[in-house]
């Protein structure tokens, strides 16, 4: 009676993914072609990297609505800094490293700010990050003067291999995504940090009484998420070479949805990184498959996407109730 239930929560998301893969392959033969597969994986990397961080935040009972606009803001900042360092540094590796450092530092600071307000001042995560979402979105609009911030063209050409290049035919975003996932999975399963996140999400009083540094762990989840937003941005900027008020729009909802589709519990206490990866892939594949067929009116794509998200979670329903 017990085991089939436990199975469903594991099998559920995997099953949804397999169904999508079969569907895609049967609808269009190019679906499984190397090019398409790498495209989908590479573009999943941004949301994916962020969603891994979000998994920790949610497992620890938190939430972050600001990641999309944070990414836009960091991208904008990075471009501004790189463009203005161009005259002195010239096109080359140093300026790219500078840009990367700026992105990571900005992610760190942004994550810290969210985290401190939430973990030290004890303000509802929803409100803090809704607030910072508005703030970053506004700031990037202001930095870009309502338009687009673009990386200098020469710089961009030099920087582009970070998105399009790679090792052994596997592009960097995929490699970085894979690394983040592996480290994340290990951190969740096999480090004290992962356990403490789950304990805090399950019952923060208990965690506190067990001498877990609740506020620090919570803060760390937001800082890690901020850093990962920085990493995602480092990979994102060479792809589009620009930042605008439309950058990263709704990424937060997509990342949270991926986390939950993957089987992490929204109210905290249990999280799994590999599930999040499956969630991210499911979401990207839906878009990809819709592009590969002419089945429906483009107006209805959103409806299909919505329905599949719900279905993917229904697939793992049994467990939910059992838990």
């Amino acid at each position: 009676m017990k085991s089939p239930k436990i199975q469903m929560s594991v099998v559920g998301p995997v099953l949804a993914l397999v169904v999508l893969l079969v569907l895609g392959a049967s609808l269009n033969p190019s679906f499984l072609a190397w090019d398409n597969v790498t495209n989908v994986l590479a573009r999943s990397a941004f949301i994916g990297i962020i969603a891994v961080g979000m998994t920790f935040v949610i497992t620890a009972g938190g939430l972050d609505l600001s990641v999309g606009s944070m990414a836009a803001f960091i991208a904008g900042l990075m471009i501004l800094v790189m463009n203005s360092a161009l005259p002195s540094l010239g096109v080359g590796i140093p300026i790219v490293l500078l840009g990367m450092a700026v992105a990571l530092a900005a992610g760190l600071v942004a994550g810290c700010l969210n985290g401190i307000l939430i973990s030290r001042l004890g303000i509802e995560a929803f409100i803090v990050t809704l607030g910072s979402m508005g703030i970053y979105r506004s700031l990037v609009t202001w930095l870009a003067d309502g338009g687009t911030l673009s990386l200098d063209f020469g710089l961009r050409t030099f920087y582009q291999p970070v998105y399009y290049g790679g090792l052994f035919g596997v592009s960097w975003p995929i490699i970085v995504f894979a690394l983040v996932v592996i480290v994340g999975e290990i951190a969740m399963r096999s480090t004290a940090f992962g356990r403490h996140c789950a304990a805090i999400g399950s019952n923060d009083q208990v965690a506190k009484y067990s001498s877990v540094k609740v506020a620090r762990v919570r803060l760390t989840t937001y800082v890690v998420l901020g850093l990962l937003v920085g990493v995602a941005t480092i990979l994102y900027v060479p792809r589009l070479g620009s930042a605008s008020p439309a950058t990263g729009l709704l990424w937060e909802l997509e990342a949270i949805a991926a986390v939950i589709i993957g089987g992490t519990m929204l109210r905290g206490g249990f999280g799994r990184v590999w599930g999040t990866v499956i969630g991210v892939l499911i979401l990207s594949l839906i878009g990809n498959i819709l592009n590969l067929t002419d089945l429906v009116s483009p107006y209805l794509n959103g409806a299909i996407q919505g329905a599949i998200i719900v279905l993917a979670v229904i697939l793992q329903r049994d467990t939910r109730q059992g838990q």
């Binding site: 009676m1 290990i186 096999s190 480090t191 004290a192 356990r195 403490h196 789950a198 304990a199 999400g201 399950s202 019952n203 009083q205 208990v206 965690a207 506190k208 009484y209 067990s210 001498s211 877990v212 519990m265 206490g269 249990f270 838990q323």
Partner: protein
């Protein structure tokens, strides 16, 4: 006598405007078991929390090894060798047994967790406690006694000089209690100081070296445990002479009001059949895990169940708790903290939750609610400020409130699961009297209890369960402790007692 390791020296503690501890002094000495007893709400848990660094005193001093100490955090108290087992479970429900035991002090190899070592150590600790639960089970699925054993294992893991245990045996069977006491003795041998509280005075008598009795936030007696017998302890606690814990049995019961036959609760109980009469108290005994709780939860629509049920002769189907309530059938849960009370709400909201329609005429009549609360407080002697959230009431007072809440819906048939868990002896007497009173009024009552004495003292008839089945039924004088144990363990006496 040895010097105290840990002591309270004139400690007071207030919550808001209300002072609940008044100048309490208490000393724990190495190699001795110190028992702290007192009525519900007397301040035992509060005193213990102050000792263990969970709460600071409002005034007075905590001394560790004679020196005044203010623990900056629980971690600091723990680092100095003080552990505490809480009255209320202090476990993260979604984590496994092993994860809970090592929470906050995980073993590591480099950056990563040393899972095999933790698993092995967990197994070792649980084996020491004769607890056979798997180390990778989620705590949310454990029985109360396994949860308690996990708590105890968690405390034992820490190398303790001082072990503070707040009612560790409330949810344990006598066999499990014996195992725990064995560990306590072993710790005492090793020179640890142990502070312990329980409302089961026979346990206190059995293990305590030193004894402190509290009443209304102050120490009323302190000294060598050998100076007081159980009776004297009870009287000192309650402040009056205690006798006749159980009320006299009632008159012969009336007609059958509940008939259950072939009740199945998948995974927990099978083929349960019994009848219940008006004015009768039916005791249900059995070992923990024998499926008593699940059987009656199944009966009352709280979990999936099949079988034939007749209420006052009419066949009924009960799939939801409110359907049961509409039939006058009500279940009082054994688990006050997660199923019984809304810990973040006040007494009034909790009291009337189940019987809200009685207070609603279009809108809720709060004046009537307040009146009902006045009555409940009086009737069940619920102590504690009305302004506090129920979660801040003392454990025993929570239990009394839960009892009052269930009774407020005036069920004709009521199933009471472990009614007196954590309740002091004085109040127990009141509750027993009340339960008997209900029966005399003509209601039908089922009392599930793991305290054998309670079942025997209170019930007219006893149903014994074993491994999800009815093992037998005993009436009147046949319901002896020995007979119940035999049925519960599956050791049949010479002449069969078959229902």
């Amino acid at each position: 006598m040895s010097e105290p390791v840990l002591a309270l020296d004139g400690v007071s503690r207030s919550f808001g405007p209300i002072e609940v501890l008044h100048g309490v002094s208490l000393a724990l000495r190495p190699g001795r078991v110190h028992a702290l007893i007192g009525e519900n709400g007397a301040g035992k848990s509060t005193a213990m929390k102050i000792l263990a660094g969970y709460q600071p005193p409002t005034s007075g001093t905590v001394r560790l090894d004679g020196a005044p100490t203010a623990f900056a955090s629980i971690g600091e108290a723990e680092a100095r060798g003080i552990s505490m087992i809480h009255q209320e479970f202090n476990l993260a429900e979604q984590l496994t047994v092993e994860q809970n035991i090592f929470l906050g002090r995980e073993l590591k190899r480099g950056l990563l967790l040393d899972k095999p070592a933790m698993r092995a150590r967990t197994r070792e600790l649980l084996d020491l406690l004769d607890c056979h639960v798997a180390t990778d089970r989620k705590v949310s699925g454990l029985s109360n006694s396994d949860k308690q054993m996990t708590e105890i294992a968690k405390a034992l893991l820490r190398e303790t000089r001082v072990l503070i245990m707040d009612e560790p045996t409330a949810v344990l069977t006598s066999a499990e209690t014996a195992v725990l006491m064995r560990q306590v003795r072993a710790l005492r041998e090793r020179g640890a100081a142990i502070l312990f509280t329980s409302h089961k005075l026979d346990e206190v008598k059995g293990i305590a070296d030193d004894l402190t009795i509290m009443r209304d936030g102050a120490v009323v007696w302190s000294g060598d445990a050998s100076e007081k017998d159980e009776h004297a302890m009870a009287s000192a606690m309650v402040g009056r002479e205690m006798r006749d814990l159980y009320p006299a049995k009632g008159p012969a019961p009336g007609e059958v009001v509940l008939e259950v036959s072939g009740l199945n609760v998948p995974g927990h109980a099978e083929d349960i059949s019994f009848t219940l009469r008006r004015g009768e108290i039916l005791g249900v005994a059995g070992l923990i895990g024998s499926g008593r709780t699940e059987t009656f939860e199944g009966l009352c629509g709280l979990r999936a169940a099949t079988g034939e049920v007749r209420v006052k002769g009419r066949p009924v189907t009960i799939r939801h708790p409110w359907e049961a309530l509409d039939l006058g059938l009500c279940y009082l849960t054994e688990d006050r903290k997660t199923r019984g009370l809304l810990l973040r709400k006040g007494m009034r909201e909790n009291l009337t939750l189940q019987a809200l329609d009685r207070f609603t005429h279009g809108l809720i009549d709060t004046t009537a609610e307040e009146a009902a609360l006045d009555k409940a407080v009086r009737e069940f002697d619920i102590r504690g400020s009305r302004a506090v959230r129920v979660g801040n009431l003392s454990g025993g007072n929570q239990q009394k409130l839960l009892f009052a809440k269930t009774m407020l819906s005036e069920p004709e048939i009521v199933v009471i699961d472990e009614p007196t868990r954590g309740v002091d002896i004085g109040t127990k007497q009141q509750m027993y009297g009340f339960i008997r009173g209900l029966a005399t009024e003509g209601r039908a009552i089922v009392v599930i209890s793991s305290e054998m004495q309670e079942v025997i003292g209170l019930a007219d008839r006893v149903l014994v369960m074993r491994r999800g089945r009815v093992a037998g039924e005993l009436a009147g004088a046949a319901a002896s402790e020995d007979a119940i144990v035999r049925l519960a363990m599956g050791v049949l006496p010479a002449e069969e007692t078959v229902a």
